[in-house]
């Protein structure tokens, strides 16, 4: 009905259509009475055909015909020939209905129903489809039906692939044909059909094919889309990979709290902990399930038990996560202990797309514990932190000091990643890069730039796994800068991508990382003064990433950026001090990742936009009983604290009450008025300092 041209009616047409309407009305009345009385005579069935010819959308009539067919087939005198002829009649009715309206859901569905009976010849179907697909090559009903028929006929995917090729040659802007090609190729590659055993033989040809379309007319978007699918096929590996861990392989970790630092330990591997245990973090390149004490085993001198509870770090409460954490109890203080973690030596870790983890890997590290004097520890964790410029001084690393990023290479070797970075992939990417650089030298093309930016990042990631070297990041940042100017409509999208590349770049080498490593200098402080504060402030970041290289961070300054979300931050399990002041966090639900950070003690979310929006979550959006998985979990005592005036802030209380914070800065948010703050103090008993004021 929509999308079809319509002309203004002429008087004679109007008269004709009025007559038609009258005829329809009469037909309908008759039809409903037949349907109601279950009359399936020849006359009655023909009448429904007439009705459908005028109005193919009349789904009641389609169903009536199904009943009539079933009725006929159940008759004793029914023989195979007459079955066939009955069903053939149905196909004819559908065909004429489709001529009337070939977007009719009911008609297409009826045809499938008839064919599924298995008595009709299907050879005619492809010819019929050709006719319809010529008339409208983007009709998705026809494409759906085509896939259905191909499957029914056992037509090979290769033949169908050939058909998409023909369609593309006829008109290469036909995105439906390109799309079907991607569906067919995926199936062929997945079942490793003959000639499709190896991606490396198939994909380069596809690149050739697509170049013709793109270079012939870079303005047509269909080819670009297919090109992105190819890129994704080139870079993704089916099996999940372990990309990062904490502690890192071969590291010496000092767990301490009493303030005297052993000179031989780097602040990068010194952990301050008040919980009697420390986390082991596994970071995969995609969400996985099945991380448990049998798929991941631990060998260590001090915990003979060997059983560890692995927890998926995902805010959606699902059993799959990209990051998993387990907690190991401290060894006895004087003992130096080594820990060996073996990941995936027995099967069971599986990606959400159903692929097994098949790169068994092992990493080991040493743990040293220094005795903690409880009082001094408490003082240091509770002391006031001021995220002021003058409180930080740049960290001067000792020349031989190990920096967490350096050990990625080791992990990579043990994982056997060489196979994934196989030559054909990098070659294919290099060729594409060259190709689109050439295109861009001829013309200024928005999507060309975006594609080149993605290609360059993919190339760097593939040549140097874990992005330890990013040779192209400057160029990519420049491309996104250009795009922001060239295409302001999509400014925010490019800015997000720009932020991610910037973070990748800053964490890619020891030198660039050290420029952001500071030490907190405060006269009262001794313990904290020995830790590294990673400062990623004032970078106008709109999005954060590169978490796999930041697992070691305990003190993080993200203030004065443009963050609206901190998704992914839950991976940084060591975080104890977090500065998020002067960002654009718009709702208290944006803080959800913090609920997973059990070590977080000091939080600054001042001068954000929390509370500006009263409706900010799916919970308010939707009344479904199923969507209330969280919330309304405040217990009675807590509800008593919150009087009626604060009922709008329930969300905030829910989000904040489980954080074990000692210090919170929330000034400069709409939500943070005096009544709210006084209730907050009651609901967060661990709080010692609120907006700089010491609490009793």
């Amino acid at each position: 009905m929509h999308g079809r041209p319509r002309k203004a009616p002429k008087p004679e047409d109007e008269a004709a259509s009025a007559a038609k309407a009258q005829k329809l009305r009469a037909l309908q009345t008759q039809f409903f009475s037949f349907h109601h009385d279950q009359i399936y005579t020849k006359e009655a069935v023909e009448l429904s055909a007439k009705l459908l010819e005028i109005n193919p959308e009349s789904y009641t009539a389609w169903n009536y015909r199904k009943l009539a067919v079933e009725h006929y087939l159940s008759q004793p005198e029914c023989d195979p020939d007459s079955v066939k002829s009955v069903l053939d009649d149905e196909l004819k009715v559908v065909e004429s209905a489709l001529r009337q309206n070939f977007k009719s859901y009911g008609a297409w569905h009826h045809r499938k129903w008839v064919l599924s009976k298995g008595h009709s010849s299907i050879n005619h179907e492809l010819r019929l489809l050709d006719k319809f697909q010529k008339a409208d090559s983007r009709n998705f009903h026809a494409w759906n039906y085509r896939r259905f028929v191909a499957e029914l006929m056992n037509r090979s995917e290769q033949d169908e692939l050939k058909y998409t090729e023909d369609m593309i040659y006829t008109n290469f802007s036909n995105y439906s044909a390109w799309h079907n090609r991607s569906v067919l190729l995926s199936a062929l590659l997945e079942k490793k059909a003959e000639g499709f055993l190896l991606k490396e033989n198939v994909l380069p040809e596809e690149y050739e094919f697509i170049h013709q379309a793109i270079f012939t007319d870079p303005d047509d978007q269909s080819g670009w889309f297919y090109n992105l699918w190819l890129l994704d096929q080139t870079v993704t590996t089916d099996s999940p990979l372990l990309v990062s861990t904490w502690p890192t392989c071969g590291s010496d970790v000092l767990i301490m709290g009493d303030g005297c630092q052993n000179g031989s330990f780097s602040p990068f591997t010194t952990l301050l902990s008040d919980s009697g245990s420390f986390p082991i973090i596994l970071y995969f390149n995609q969400p996985v399930e099945g991380v448990n004490s049998s798929t991941v085993t631990i060998e260590c001198g001090f915990d003979k038990n060997g059983y560890l509870h692995w927890e998926p770090l995902s805010v959606s409460n699902s059993q799959a996560a990209q990051v998993w954490v387990a907690h190991l109890k401290f060894p006895t203080p004087e003992l130096d202990s080594s820990v060996e973690v073996r990941v995936g030596h027995s099967k069971g870790i599986i990606s959400t797309r159903g692929f097994q983890y098949c790169h068994p890997s092992t990493f080991s590290f040493n743990v040293h514990v220094q005795h903690v004097e409880r009082d001094s520890f408490q003082v240091s964790v509770a002391e006031s932190i001021l995220w002021r410029e003058e409180n930080f001084k740049i960290y001067r690393a000792q020349s031989e000091e190990s920096i967490p990023i350096a050990s990625f290479d080791q992990l990579c070797i043990k994982n056997g990643h060489e196979s994934t970075a196989s030559n054909w992939r990098t070659e294919a990417l290099a060729k594409e890069i060259e190709c689109f650089r050439e295109l861009l030298s001829l013309m200024d093309c928005k999507i060309g730039k975006l594609t080149l930016a993605r290609l360059l990042m993919a190339y760097d990631a593939m040549s140097f796994p874990f992005a330890t070297k990013l040779v192209h990041s400057e160029e990519v940042l420049e491309l996104y800068n250009d795009l922001m100017k060239l295409d302001p409509t999509h400014h925010r999208y490019y800015k997000d991508e720009h932020s991610l590349v910037l973070l990748q770049k800053m964490t890619s080498s020891k030198e660039s990382l050290l420029q952001h490593c500071f030490q907190y200098k405060d006269s009262v402080s001794s313990v904290i003064g020995n830790l590294i504060c990673l400062r990623l402030n004032n970078l106008s970041l709109s999005r954060i990433g590169a978490f796999e290289k930041l697992l070691w961070v305990q003190m993080l300054d993200l203030s004065h950026n443009e963050l609206q979300s901190i998704e992914g931050l839950e991976a940084m399990q060591l975080l104890s001090w977090l500065g998020l002041g002067n960002n654009k966090l718009g709702s208290v639900t944006a803080l959800e990742p913090l609920r997973k950070l059990k070590s977080l003690r000091v939080l600054d979310i001042s001068y954000n936009q929390i509370g500006d929006h009263s409706i900010d979550t799916t919970r308010y959006l939707c009344s479904s009983p199923l969507s209330h998985s969280v919330g309304s979990e405040l217990n009675k005592d807590e509800t008593a604290i919150i009087d009626a005036a604060l009922v709008n802030y329930l969300e905030a209380f829910y989000m904040l009450k489980d954080l074990n914070l000692n210090q919170l800065d929330i000034v400069g948010n709409t939500i943070a008025d005096e009544t709210f703050k006084s209730a907050l103090v009651k609901i967060m008993p661990t709080l010692k300092r609120l907006d700089g004021k010491v609490l009793d």
Partner: protein
Amino acid sequence: MEMESFSSLTVTERDQILVEQQVFNIFKTFYNIPPSSQSFMLELQRENHVEYLTNGLKQLGPSFCVLDANRPWICYWILHSIALMDEFVDPELEDNTIDFLSRCQDPNGGYGGGPGQMPHLATTMLQSIHLEKLYSFIRQMKYASGGFRMHDAGEIDVRACYTAISVASLLNILDDELVQNVGNYILSCQTYEGGISGEPGSEAHGGYTFCGLATMILINEVKRLDLSSLIDWVVFRQGVEGGFQGRTNKLVDGCYSFWQGGIFALLKRLNSTRGEKSIPLGDGEDSGPDSSETTASSDATGKGLIEDLSQGGSHIEKGDQHDTSSRVNSKRHAKVKPLFNSLALQQYILLCSQDLNGGLRDKPGKSRDHYHTCYCLSGLSVCQRSWLEDDDSPPLPCAVLGPYSNLLEPIHPLYNVVLDRYREAHEFFTGS
């Protein structure tokens, strides 16, 4: 494979250029006329729209035969459009309509397309009285794969999932049994582009993406979707005309103002909408030197709009360079930029989709109809509030293109019903 086998200008492109020309001619005319006429052109012709719609409830022309099976839908399109403009239907006409709809309920619980027609999930969207029977009807339409059939022995698709789940949720009869496997079915329809298709294997489509996303929110499984690539896809469906296309490389169509625009209204409620993904897919928007030139030229002629935009923009900038005290003072109006260009879409709806004699349409050159009137107006309502996060307070004048009297009633983006009506219904069915 020879280069020559490709013609130099594709059919799709030729059609696209024709539409762009028509649209840009309208914009050009608009920017060359005096401001007083401009404001007239941007004005929503409420009276004419209401008249056109009200007539539709009384008597439809004979050309509506093919829509006979969709009569409750026509009622919805018309009544919802009227409600968006905060107008009322004459009580007698309203009674007639309600009477008609109640006669559409089948003894088996669902609603049919007209009296005596069999129950169909899409028509059941509208309203219900016999809840238990309705539940058993929806339950019967459920299919083992997780999907729903549109009607007894009917087709299974994402549309059916949405209609079943949204009706059940609106009527407060949603339970685990109805929900089982629905999420898996929808996931199997998300394509590599990022959008959601009608059924597995098909290409991403604006209407289905809205239905799929809304369903996933209703069943609380939205985080299973690849939201990052979904956003990538929908963001780039907005073209140079300001309106949205429904699928990759298709022409702009006013009705996607809601189907695609509504996706943004849903997304802004999801607290964090960006996931981690190394290769975001889903671009393919108009590109290249020519289209950027056309953008540039339309920018030149479109100075007024750009000024409007930059006013909005500078408001944001000011907010950014806060000094704290002013930030706190201006917090009532602190806004988050929407992920799509809201003013450009409003401009498309008002200048290109609006029939000044009443009714709205797909694109210039097409005729008005109730379907497009409904979804263009719904899209307009979404746009006007896209800078706001709080639907209870009115938007700033700079967020509403044209006179402020263009402001429509807010809708509930999951169900596309006017928010006040949703609240009444919700109270009624939850008994609260």
